[in-house]
Symmetry: C2
Subunit: 244 residues, 2 copies
DNA sequence: CATTGGAACTAATCTAGATCAATAACGTTA
DNA sequence: TAACGTTATTGATCTAGATTAGTTCCAATG
């Protein structure tokens, strides 16, 4: 499978715009480096020395940090087209763990590839870094959101954000999307207990705003939910990379 | 003032190790680009298009995000030697604001410098990115800590972390350090109210662990505080950059 | 087809920290 | 030196969400 032919990935990379032939050639070398991961088995452990980053082709992955008290904080979810662990390569070791939520396939981007890209095609390297910076910014936004938002806003904001991101790769729209997450995942991501998540989901459902059931998120009142969550999709904007 | 002669900055950059003459030459061009900022006046506004990053030479700066409800979340503090807004340059605009807490001086690292560094001295560029990644990791660590830690752990952890970071640039030790932050700063950084911060600080003082008074943090029982906060300084480690 | 185990769901109780409302201390400026 | 603004401090009350302890539902598995 050529990277340019892989549907979710190409949409992500299309933001890089106007690549030269040389750059395309380098990108082409990512061919055949795809790896499969089974649901539930960590792809990368916190603290592990990492020699590669990944681009998720199919599946869902979550990034999390284990806390000293044994609980875990999920810092983000990756859907097809998202980068995984780019920063771990720079830092020499991963500062969090990655767990596939369902069976997933990812393209491997080896450290050597990144190093070569730096010297051979700096613009391509910059594009990668831009993508990494953007993903980082989203995680920060998410974590900051935890601080001052209450539970119902956190949950509705989160569901809307996922819809927006999945929409970018054609996996969802304003009606809803398929979502393999459990209420436990939501709890760990949003800093709540699963008990409370359950209650709030019930309230949202009874208010005819959104339902989260049987692997499917359905928006009954998208506009109303946007208002409740004070959701502003601006920060997800696909702005151009530095060297475009 | 040459960058190599500037005490806090050189310590930070020394982690880059073994730079070639060409790389030193590029670094040397940062000369005389220092700028001063007055306490309380934002250096950079959220959303502003940024054409430069900074390295803080003297002073204290805080990075924050304004929330929709008007409150602000401080995502980190910068002390001498820290980088400021490197990511904003990659993303074309700043995703948070920077406010000097006291009068501060920063070396400007213009966008052009970074671009040139990418093509001319990829290793140097990598070193900068490594530094940026490391600072990012610290912010994430901090924000994640907010999720599950209670107020006294947050506060003691925060005070210990600052001590460790200031220690790296010779501005503090296990006895204590000078700190221009107000209790409101702590509250905004830790997601608490200033009222509660005040109460917890009183408790910590009465427990003879640490005092936060008159611009000075004094550790009365450093070891005890480390235990209370479950503080593990490992994540602050100055690991080597990618291309070292 | 019975069993098991994960996920969803519910109810009762408890508490950390917010909120509201003052007061005190202190440095700055008129 | 009077007035003011900022920061620190304390007390009383309130509440969102945690905690604990279940039950229900359903799909997989032997």
């Amino acid at each position: 499978m050529n990277i340019v032919g892989s549907s979710p990935v190409i949409r992500k990379l299309s933001a890089f715009a106007s690549l030269s032939d040389a750059e395309r050639a380098v990108l082409g070398r990512l061919d055949a480096k795809s790896r499969s991961f089974s649901a539930g088995r960590d792809m990368v452990h916190q603290g592990q020395t990492e020699r590669a980053a990944y681009i998720l082709a199919t599946g869902w992955v979550c990034s999390y940090k284990l806390q000293s008290d044994g609980s875990r904080q999920i810092v983000g979810f990756q859907v097809p087209g998202d980068f995984l662990g780019l920063r771990s390569v720079l830092l020499h070791r991963s500062d969090y763990s990655f767990e596939p939520i369902v069976d997933s396939v990812a393209l491997e981007v080896p450290k050597e590839f990144l190093l070569e890209a730096f010297s051979a095609t700096p613009r391509l390297a910059t594009a990668f870094l831009w993508a990494a910076a953007r993903d980082e910014a989203m995680m920060l936004e998410h974590l900051v959101g935890l601080g001052r938002r209450d539970a119902s806003k956190r949950i509705s904001h989160f569901l809307l954000e996922l819809a927006a991101r999945l929409g970018l790769v054609g996996l969802g729209n304003a009606d809803g999307y398929d979502c393999p997450l459990t209420q436990y995942h939501l709890a760990d991501a949003l800093g709540l207990t699963s008990v409370h998540v359950n209650r709030v989901l019930r309230d949202l459902r009874q208010a005819d705003l959104v339902s989260f059931r049987a692997g499917r998120v359905t928006f009954m009142d998208h506009a109303g939910l946007v208002e409740l969550a004070e959701f502003d999709p601006a920060y997800l904007d696909q702005t151009r990379p530095l060297a475009a």
